[in-house]
């Protein structure tokens, strides 16, 4: 009988390690471990950890039902994707990937370089626009990002583009002035394209730890986050923080990126994601 108790201890520790290493966080992990505590002791005599992985998969699906991602293009109106996030997460790269993705679906877009601050940012997006085969709005370094977005809206209307993809500068959510700048960009969009379908995508790096939850809640508070794009899944990090973000903030994941080529992205699928997480 004591063997079952020992096994239970070993299994719970393995589960704890698996979850913590995925970056889902200690609080969500504690909730899951609690559910395992109430499982019948005799079940733990089954010396098969894979059996518990299956249980764990079920539990994750129950505890964190996938939020529905509503990001889609309505060709009958102007669609605007505002890409934001902290520094270095892969926003500019994703802007290029998204432009290519939608182009292959028949939606031609205009790429807007609203990061007029960081060295080489405009040139970087310009290069990607050529790779994606989409038009690029010219902007001057140091110019006001909100004015650049305003120009983008006018230009999209003039050129009859149904999709505007706006890249913004990386910013840590702890800088209130930078968060205000982003909120201003959103106001400019709502004022000048009130009829547009707006998607505010928060780009999160899969290597991000618990800070990801603060990023999501702060961006949500400042201007709203419609969905998350999770990048760099081609590395060894699992990106489990997005499960806790869904659970705590109900923000869906729309896309994932897994490489540096313009085609290295696809729509998020929670089943596949959890499967890989527990591998």
């Amino acid at each position: 009988f004591s063997d079952a108790i020992n096994d239970k201890g070993v299994f719970l520790e393995k589960i704890e390690e698996l979850l913590i290493l995925s970056d889902i966080g200690p609080n969500t992990t504690a909730e899951i471990l609690e559910r395992f505590q109430s499982i019948n002791l005799h079940l733990f005599r089954v010396n098969d950890f894979n059996h518990f992985k299956e249980l764990l998969k079920q539990m994750l699906h129950e505890l964190i039902p996938p939020q529905v991602d509503t990001s889609k293009i309505d060709p009958g109106m102007l669609n605007i994707v505002l890409i934001m996030g902290v520094n270095g997460t892969g926003k500019t790269s994703f802007a290029g990937k998204l432009a290519y993705y939608y182009k292959s679906k028949g939606y031609d877009s205009l790429l807007v370089p609203a990061d007029t601050f960081r060295a080489g940012a405009i040139e970087q997006l310009h290069y990607l626009s050529k790779e994606a085969g989409v038009e690029f709005l010219r902007a001057a370094p140091g110019s006001d990002p909100a004015s650049v977005v305003f120009d983008g809206i006018q230009s999209a209307r003039a050129k009859k583009k149904v999709l505007l993809i706006v890249d913004t500068a990386g910013r840590l959510h702890t800088y209130h002035n930078l968060m205000r700048e982003l909120a201003k960009i959103k106001r400019v969009i709502l004022k000048n394209a009130p009829d547009a379908l707006l998607c505010s995508t928060l780009v999160i790096d899969a290597t991000t730890g618990q800070n990801g939850l603060f990023q999501a809640s702060n961006f949500k508070e400042s201007l709203g986050v419609s969905d998350i794009t999770l990048t760099k899944l081609d590395g060894t990090a699992k990106g489990g923080i997005v499960l806790t973000i869904q659970k705590e903030l109900s923000i869906p994941v729309s896309f994932i990126a897994f490489g540096e080529k313009i085609t290295d992205m696809c729509r998020y699928n929670q089943d596949k994601f959890i499967e890989t997480l527990l591998d």
Partner: protein, 292 residues
């Protein structure tokens, strides 16, 4: 905040004057949670807690500190011990130019840090130059050139189509002719599991003597930091770390993980996007930050 939580638990201990088994257990539970929330690696947390437990059990209660203060003091001690007790600086080459290689994952802050480092090294009295060895990322060379200008340091670029090793060799020659005594090489972001790009780093280290290989990593990283740092260190050797984006609210537990795994020191921290935003690493400040 950990210190608040510990105060709460141990306030009831104050009346009894000693730590009961249960109080210690509860305190360790709070410390474990704080460390995991701070992104310290799971294995490092487990070792840390067992070390702390041993220490708490063998140490007799101090007459001057409350049990709560004593546990916090012990936690700080173990943390600072792991992080390294004093500042660790760049080891300059005594017999000629110093070559510094910056490596790291995509987007960790290498290019920005390279320029910041050039400014700091200038202030130390050297004449550094930057080498743009990232031929992969669009406009990487332009980015380094603009940042180099802010640092007041020349950037040697070579064409974007020129092989990295050719650029490195030409840069070395150019540096000799122009009496640059420190070369800072900015490389393309790469995964620790990318064998081709890992080989590129090995080739660079075989081509010219590298006196400092510094791994630039993001303070916002989670559990993956330990494996990543370990991989880079095992595969190509790392002399130290630069932790970036510490101007945010990330607790920076990665610092504990990478230090305990590789034994290599954190030399600098990035605290913003401006050229002056690079500071030496202070272990005791980091330990307070991790505990929250």
């Amino acid at each position: 905040r950990l210190s608040e939580k510990l105060k709460q638990i141990l306030n009831k201990v104050r009346e009894k004057g000693k730590i009961s088994e249960n109080d210690l257990k509860q305190s360790l539970k709070e410390i474990k949670l704080a460390l995991l929330e701070a992104d310290v690696h799971y294995k490092v947390v487990k070792d840390f807690i067992s070390k702390l437990e041993k220490l708490a059990n063998q140490e007799s209660l101090s007459k001057t500190l409350t049990p709560g203060q004593q546990i916090i003091k012990m936690t700080h001690t173990v943390l600072t011990e792991i992080l390294g007790e004093k500042q660790s600086k760049i080891r300059f080459n005594e017999e000629g130019p110093t070559n510094i290689l910056l490596i790291g994952l995509q987007g960790s802050g290498k290019t920005t840090t390279a320029a910041k480092l050039a400014l700091q090294i200038k202030k130390m009295g050297y004449i550094p130059a930057l080498i743009a060895a990232d031929k992969i990322r669009p406009a990487a060379i332009e980015q380094l050139q603009i940042m180099g200008e802010k640092a007041g340091a020349d950037v040697f670029a070579g064409g974007v189509n020129q092989p990295v090793l050719n650029t490195i060799h030409e840069a070395q020659q150019w540096a000799k002719e122009h009496k640059r005594d420190v070369l800072i090489i900015d490389t393309a972001g790469r995964l620790h599991i990318d064998s081709e790009l890992i080989q590129e780093l090995k080739d660079i280290k075989n081509a010219i003597p590298i006196h400092e290989t510094l791994l630039v990593l993001d303070a916002l990283m989670g559990q993956d930091a330990l494996r990543m740092a370990d991989d880079f260190n095992k595969k190509i050797g790392v002399d130290g770390f630069i932790l970036t984006k510490l101007d945010g609210d990330a607790r920076g537990g990665v610092s504990l993980s990478i230090r305990s795994m590789t034994g290599k020191p954190i030399k600098f921290t990035g605290v913003g996007e401006k050229i002056i935003d690079l500071e030496p690493f202070y272990p005791d400040r980091m330990s307070s930050r991790i505990l929250g």
